[in-house]
């Protein structure tokens, strides 16, 4: 067990210090002065380095294990991108420095926007949003402003029940009312049910293509036509874009607004949960509503344009998560158009290969072909009160991070697997064998092994009920 920082704290010389080369002159009036202790630990650098290094080793990370998290696209994060983003010539730029002294920053943003347009078939992009959910929120605000501008009261957003939780949350956050749409068993849209909910109040429909069961929306043409005939817009959740780069473009399918997760499709690291980046792309009629500032090119100079009277405003301070944007751009320049297409082909090949090895053994609710990910439902195989959570925990014992579980909500005991294109055949083979062994052999013959799992992880199964009932949220 690794100690906590407050337990490591001692009277030692702390790791950092600063020298003031002018006279200390820091008296402040009593009524403004802090009078309670700071409560910060005092720890030597050597001990801090060990502490954090040891903590890092308690993580299963992409750099140590296979991470088949469905819908998260845990692909290899190229080291060269980190090296490029580590350059002080990017890191030391102040957001308010004169634009002629930050042309490199603006060039990266401008050029990435352009390349994302090409991948997505959209007319323009905004890079300001800090995450996928932030992008969804921005996209929905753009939709709201658009309808305000044409004086239509449309307060509803259709969200399929197979969608990511962020979809309804973002729509509610943007002030919309949610109309849930029941999906077909393979997660695809039922046109009849869609017709029933497409009322004049519907502003937009949010759709993930391929859907969260890994299936391409076969009636996308009809869906697009129905939605647009209703005067509504179509929103593309880009979480699964890794399946279709260079194969089919959201803009060409009829989507009006979309977001991309740079930390999924464009290989930027997840960082243990951020920072990410959620650019949004729109068709040209929605461009006036995008957040400010916009990066523009005038002759050979990049400029920032804040003067957009119809803009939804700002989604965060400054321009966006620039280092993430930079890494994504480096990725695009490594791959180019051809490389990006190859990525999607390989991702889909890897997923189908795994699926082929599972499909005769474990239930696959969406059929035996998929795009870049697929969902298993081991429900009928599980005896002895074994559940999906137990399989997930057992996988940790075998040195894998667990797939996404219990999502999408429409599949019982769901196990959602996304291999990505950067995993080798050998890795996939080994993983499939382990999963099949756990489900088909261990769960029947040695169920206690699953119930006891994990035994090889840094801790055994943790008590989440007590954590929530009697919350301890900081050092005591």
């Amino acid at each position: 067990m690794e100690k906590l920082l407050n337990e490591l704290s001692s009277e030692c010389q702390p790791a950092y210090g600063v020298e003031c080369d002018v006279a200390i002159n820091a008296q402040v009036p009593e009524n403004l002065k802090r009078s309670i202790p700071l409560g910060l630990p005092s720890i030597a650098e050597n001990d801090l380095l060990r502490h954090f290094t040891n903590l890092s080793r308690k993580n299963y990370a992409l750099s140590t294990v296979f991470y088949p998290l469905g819908s998260c696209t845990m692909k290899y994060n190229p080291l060269i991108n980190e090296r490029i983003a580590g350059n002080d010539a990017f890191n030391n730029v102040h957001p308010y420095q004169p634009i002629e002294t930050m042309q490199g920053v603006l060039e990266v943003m401008y050029e990435l926007e352009k390349d994302l347009c090409e991948v997505a078939g959209m007319d323009t992009f905004s890079l300001q949003q800090a995450a996928g959910a932030h992008g969804e929120f921005a996209g929905l605000l753009v939709i709201a402003e658009y309808f305000k501008s044409i004086k239509q009261k449309r307060r509803k957003i259709i969200v399929p029940d197979s969608a990511h939780g962020t979809n309804p949350a973002s729509a509610a956050f943007a002030g919309f009312e949610i109309v849930p749409l029941k999906s077909e068993p393979d997660g695809s849209v039922s046109l009849d049910k869609l017709k029933e909910v497409l009322t004049p109040e519907v502003a937009a429909m949010m759709l993930t293509v391929p859907n969260t069961l890994g299936i391409f929306e076969k009636s996308i043409d009809e869906v697009s036509k129905l939605v647009h005939d209703n005067g509504s817009l179509l929103y593309y959740d880009g979480a699964n874009l890794n399946a279709v780069m260079g194969i089919v473009r959201p803009g060409d399918m009829g989507f009006d607004v979309m977001h991309i997760n740079l930390h999924k499709t464009f290989s930027t690291p997840h960082g243990g949960g951020g920072p990410g980046s959620g650019p949004i792309g729109v068709k040209s009629f929605l461009e006036p509503f995008l957040p400010v500032p916009r990066v523009e090119k005038k002759k050979d100079k990049y400029v920032l344009n804040y003067k957009k009277s119809k803009s939804i405003g700002k989604l965060k301070a400054f321009f966006g998560n620039f280092p993430v944007i930079l890494k994504a751009y480096a990725y695009v320049k490594a791959l180019g158009g051809k490389g990006l297409k190859n990525v999607s082909e390989q991702a889909v090949l890897n997923a189908n290969y795994m699926l082929a090895k599972f499909k005769d053994k474990v239930d696959v609710p969406a059929g035996d072909r998929c795009m870049h990910e697929f969902v298993l439902s081991p429900k009928t195989l599980l005896k002895n009160d074994i559940r999906t959570i137990d399989i997930a925990k057992r996988l940790l014992d075998y040195g894998y991070y667990a797939p996404t579980i219990y999502f999408p909500l429409i599949v019982d005991e769901a196990i959602m697997i996304e291999p990505t294109e950067t995993e080798s055949k050998e890795t996939l083979d080994k993983f499939v064998n382990v999963v099949n062994k756990i489900i088909l052999e261990e769960s029947c013959q040695e169920p206690q092994k699953l119930k006891d799992a994990p035994i090889n992880a840094p801790v055994r199964r943790l008590n989440e009920v007590e954590a929530a009932r009697k919350p301890i949220l900081k050092w005591e």
């Binding site: 219990y406 989440e464 009920v465 929530a468 009932r469």
Partner: protein, 124 residues
């Protein structure tokens, strides 16, 4: 499954105990079992008007949150604040220590829509 005969029930798994012009409300043994370990309860403010079949409270487990509906319309006149600090009472004693709130009902007729114990048993 413990379904006391002397209480009334809703289809959404609340139990109701009539006491004069008010009703006490909680969730059934069946419901607490389905929810699993209750970790948090949000109760309505005293004095709030509630409408029949509209959400009045929220019960949360580690991985889910459930709306608890007012079985009848009226005003919240009492809440069981003990479940705030000890949410496990909803599991261990759903009909007694783990009750949620009391409503002073505004329309006596609505009481007629509630289910008798035997009908509720058939439902689950």
């Amino acid at each position: 499954m413990n379904i006391p005969q002397d209480l009334l029930y809703t289809k959404t798994h609340e139990w109701v105990k009539i006491e004069g012009n008010k009703v006490k409300v909680g969730i059934t043994d069946f419901a607490q079992h389905e929810i699993t370990d209750v970790v948090h309860v949000e109760l309505p403010e005293i004095g709030r008007d509630v409408k029949k079949e509209h959400p009045a409270a929220v019960i949360e487990s580690v991985k889910s949150a459930f709306d608890i509906y007012a079985p009848v319309s009226g005003k919240i006149i009492e809440t069981n604040n003990k479940v705030l600090g000890s949410p496990e009472l909803v599991n261990s004693s759903p009909y007694e220590k783990g009750y949620l709130f009391a409503i002073e009902f505004s329309n006596e007729k609505e009481l007629g829509d509630l289910l008798k114990a035997d009908d509720y048993k058939k439902l689950i």
